[in-house]
Structures are given as structure tokens and as C-alpha cells.
């Protein structure tokens, strides 16, 4: 049963982009595409041929493959209640985070490979933002490790307990941080609006302007997977492992669904940040996680309250 989290995440990842699109369409009074439209798109792309720029090299071709592989392997770490992920070891979140960094690294150089000025803009923003968000994730995981005295995704989520007002507050903040980190990692609102029409202000979408066919198919699927990555973590964070299995599965899927619908809501109602404001905004995530860390120190009685 290990790896249940992986399978469930894969399943839900396929529907994520569709659900977000539908939510956004309904909220803005449009009819919108069907939930399965992104899947049809991916299937169509899989059958299609590709065009490669003469400026590009092997880097451009291999980048989407490595990117996709990095996210899938990261998903292998996904625990599920009392079941471990396929891969699970101590301090696996460091590996997880660095693996995602590999994906970002190759996508950045892949975008630069085209020699397009627009893709350069996306690439360097991606590089800057992912650099800034890294500490927030590590501090957050450090706080959870300190709180539970465990250091792998699996044992961390199994041993997490909330009993006081302060710990509920910390849990809320942690979920908030997970959601926001997911938004930065996926380049969604408020960092970036994937549906904008101006290449000058985009991040992720502008990096993949030249990809087509199979590569584009992988990139589309990867978007859903990346959402599933964080949705799964949040779901694990919420439900305790003592619940019966079927309830857990239902709750897991529910939380994932809520997460994407929330993303849809956010994207429908919230404006994106001004581009120059982004670095500051991302930095505050680190600040907030630092406050979480300090509060955890209070909970584990290292900072003495009388």
C-alpha cells in the first residue's frame, strides 16, 4: 500500500488544470471548457509533430523530459496517512526540494537556449523567484521537524498533532504558506498570471513559447503534477492517520479539490502583483515561516514562558 499517495496524486493531477479553468470560467460568468479539456489538449499534443528553432540545441530538447521526470520522482515521496511514499527517508524534503530545483534549472537553460529575448525574461524571473522562495520552504519544514521530532515527509505528517490554540494557529499559517509556496512554484497568481496576454510580464508561460508537440505535452502534464504535489502535502498535513482508510481517501481527494478550487477562486478575484513587488512578497513568506519557527520553539518549551 506504500505509494497510495503517489497514485492518488497522479489521478487527481490529471483533473487539476481542468477544475481550475472551470472554476475561473464559472466565476467570471463564462461557459468555459470542459473539465477534461486540458487532457484532450495533452493527448492532441502527444500525437502532433514538433518544430524546433534552429537556434536551439540538445538542451532545449532534453529540458522538458528532465523537468517532468523531476516532478514525478518528487511525487514518489508523497506519503498517505500511515502509508509511506514509494521513496521515503530521513530529511527527504531536502532531496525533494533540490530535485524540483533540478527541474527549474533545466527549464531555465532550456528557455535561454532559444535565444529569444522574451524567454530570457521569463527565465531570469523564474531563477530569481525560485531562489527567494527556497528559504521559506526549508524554514517551514524545519519548524515541522522541530514540532514533531521527525524528519521525513511520512513520519512528519504521521506525528503531527494539534492540541492548543497556538498549534492550530501554526497549522493555519503552515497551510497558508504551503499554498503560497505552491503558487510561486507554479507561477500562478499573485506571482504570475498564466492567462495574461502580455509576454513582457509573464514568467512560466513565456519560458515555454517555443516548445511544441511531445515536449509541450509533458510541460502541460507537469503543471497538474506540480499542483498535486502541494495539494497532496496539504491534505496529508490535515487528516490524522487514525481515520479509516476510505475516509482518508475521500478526505485526501476532497482537500485536493478544495485546494484547486481555492486556486481558481484566488485567480478569479485577485489581481496579480506588480512585477517589481514580487520579490518583496516572496520574501515575506520567509518572514512568516520564521515567525512560525519561533512559535514552534515556544510550543516545544525551548523558549521559556512563565
Amino acid at each position: 500500500m506504500n505509494g497510495l499517495g503517489f497514485l492518488l496524486s497522479i489521478v487527481s493531477s490529471l483533473l487539476f488544470p481542468g477544475i481550475i479553468a472551470v472554476t475561473k470560467a464559472k466565476l467570471s460568468g463564462r461557459k468555459g471548457p470542459g473539465i477534461f479539456q486540458p487532457l484532450f489538449d495533452a493527448a492532441r499534443l502527444f500525437r502532433k509533430g514538433s518544430i524546433y528553432s534552429v537556434t536551439t540545441s540538445i538542451i532545449f530538447q532534453i529540458a522538458p523530459v528532465i523537468y517532468f521526470a523531476s516532478i514525478v520522482v518528487a511525487l514518489l515521496f508523497m506519503p498517505f496517512g500511515q502509508y509511506k511514499g514509494f521513496l521515503s527517508f530521513e530529511v527527504d524534503f531536502v532531496f525533494f526540494s533540490y530535485l524540483l530545483a533540478v527541474g527549474k534549472f533545466v527549464m531555465i537553460i532550456g528557455a535561454m537556449d532559444t535565444g529569444s529575448g522574451f524567454e530570457g525574461m521569463g527565465a531570469n524571473r523564474e531563477a530569481l523567484y525560485s531562489m527567494l522562495v527556497e528559504p521559506a520552504f526549508f524554514i517551514l519544514m524545519g519548524s515541522l521537524a522541530l514540532l514533531t521530532n521527525h524528519t521525513s515527509f511520512y513520519s512528519l505528517f504521521v506525528h503531527i498533532h494539534f492540541d492548543s490554540v497556538l498549534s492550530y494557529l501554526i497549522a493555519l499559517l503552515a497551510i497558508y504558506l504551503f499554498v503560497q509556496i505552491a503558487m510561486v512554484e507554479n507561477s500562478r497568481i499573485p506571482i504570475d498570471d498564466p492567462k495574461t496576454h502580455l509576454e513582457l510580464t509573464m514568467i512560466h508561460e513565456v519560458m515555454v513559447l517555443d516548445n511544441s508537440g511531445f515536449d509541450m505535452c509533458l510541460i502541460h502534464l507537469a503543471t497538474g503534477l506540480k499542483f498535486a504535489l502541494y495539494g497532496g502535502l496539504i491534505a496529508n498535513f490535515i487528516f490524522p492517520d487514525t481515520w479509516p482508510l476510505y475516509t482518508q481517501i475521500a478526505v485526501f481527494l476532497m482537500v485536493n479539490l478544495l485546494f484547486v478550487i481555492a486556486v481558481g477562486f484566488l485567480e478569479a478575484f485577485r489581481a496579480r502583483n506588480k512585477l517589481e513587488k514580487n520579490p518583496k512578497w516572496i520574501l515575506t513568506l520567509s518572514s512568516i515561516s520564521m515567525v512560525v519557527f519561533l512559535s514552534v520553539l515556544v510550543i516545544v518549551h525551548k523558549y521559556f514562558l512563565e
Binding site: 492548543s164 494557529l169 513587488k277 520574501l283 518572514s287 515567525v291 519561533l294 523558549y303 521559556f304
Partner: protein, 210 residues
């Protein structure tokens, strides 16, 4: 622990303040700080004289939480002043500085061992006072100076909670008076300056010498 949760929220307001640009958001944060202080004071001071307690509670929620922000909001509307002008120091550094101030508060308070000192309030108050002073140093706007002043006063309130539960009454009454007069004077002043110069930069005041 519950008191600490409120303090935690209080420190979060400081972080939000650090990257805020809209004046309205500043005032909302001040209001929230007032309400939080009300909660903290209520939890902490339950054992003191009911009259004093009532006074402090009223002071926090009505003056800090309502009157002052609303007054400032009036001023904002009158002068049509919605966004803070850029200060010389980038917001990026402000966020880092205020986070550092919070950690510094904790570090400092963990080093002090005194029975009369309640470390958690001390930690929060240090961070708050530093934030207030920082705002007054960095920004050139009178309005931001008032806000910095008010943040600092909240810090002093926390500080008075830290040094003993009997003190706040006395300290607070005195400070309250100062603040009230201060805000009033600065407010009128800012209104006048706003009329004269169209914006409220401290730099412009230098012109008044001539």
C-alpha cells in the same frame, strides 16, 4: 499559550506592515493591532481591579482600535493620500530588517532572566518598538511618522505588560495622553501641510525656514 497566539498574530501584523504600500492597509493593521492588544490585555490582566481593567480594555479597543485609525482615515481622505511614496530604502530591506527585529527580540529576551519580566511580552515589544522607530527613520512622510509613532506606542504598551501587571494602568494613562495630543497635533499639522504643499514630505518643511 493562548496569549502567545495573540502575540504571534501581533508579530504577523508587523510583517504585513513591512511591505504595505496602501495607506488604508496601514490603518487596518493598526486597528487589528488595537483589537489584539485588547485581547492580550484581557487575558493577562484579569486579576486586577475591575475598574482599571475596564479602563485599559476600553482604551485599547476604543482609542487604539477605533478612534485613532478612524481619525487618520479622515485625514487620509481629506488629503487624498492613498499610497506611501517610495522611501529611499527598498521594501526588500525593510522586510528583512523587521524579520531580524523579531528574531532579535526573541534572542534578547531569552538572555534575560528576571522574575519580574515576562519574556514573551518583552520579545514582542522590542520588535514592535524597533519597527516603529524604523518607520519613522526610513519614511519621509509625516503621515508615516504618525503611524510609526502609534506602532511604537503599541510596543510600549506591550512593554508595560512585560514589566509587571500593575504598572500598565499608570504608564498607559500617561502615554495615552501623550499619544492623543501627539496624534492630534500631528494630524492638524499634516492637514495644514497637506493644504500647503500638496504632499506631506518632511523635506518640504525645510522650506518653512525662509
Amino acid at each position: 499559550m493562548t496569549t502567545f497566539s495573540l502575540l504571534l498574530l501581533f508579530e504577523l501584523t508587523l510583517i504585513i506592515l513591512s511591505f504595505t504600500e496602501r495607506v488604508k492597509r496601514f490603518l487596518t493593521m493598526l486597528m487589528i493591532q488595537g483589537v489584539l492588544l485588547f485581547g492580550i490585555a484581557y487575558l493577562q490582566l484579569q486579576h486586577i481591579n475591575a475598574l482599571y481593567l475596564a479602563f485599559i480594555l476600553l482604551e485599547t479597543i476604543i482609542i487604539k482600535g477605533l478612534l485613532v485609525p478612524l481619525f487618520l482615515n479622515q485625514m487620509r481622505k481629506r488629503n487624498n493620500f492613498n499610497r506611501l511614496a517610495h522611501s529611499k530604502v527598498s521594501t526588500f530591506i525593510t522586510v528583512m530588517a523587521i524579520s531580524a527585529a523579531i528574531v532579535f527580540g526573541f534572542l534578547l529576551s531569552s538572555n534575560i532572566h528576571d522574575d519580574n519580566l515576562q519574556t514573551k511580552f518583552f520579545a514582542a515589544s522590542i520588535a514592535t518598538i524597533i519597527t516603529g522607530i524604523y518607520f519613522m527613520i526610513v519614511h519621509r512622510n509625516i503621515f508615516t511618522h504618525i503611524i510609526g509613532y502609534l506602532i511604537m506606542e503599541n510596543g510600549v504598551f506591550l512593554f508595560s505588560l512585560a514589566v509587571g501587571s500593575e504598572m500598565p494602568m499608570l504608564v498607559n494613562t500617561a502615554i495615552l495622553l501623550d499619544i492623543f495630543v501627539g496624534v492630534l497635533v500631528l494630524g492638524i499639522f499634516a492637514n495644514r501641510v497637506g493644504d500647503t504643499f500638496k504632499n506631506m514630505h518632511v523635506d518640504d518643511l525645510a522650506q518653512l525656514k525662509h
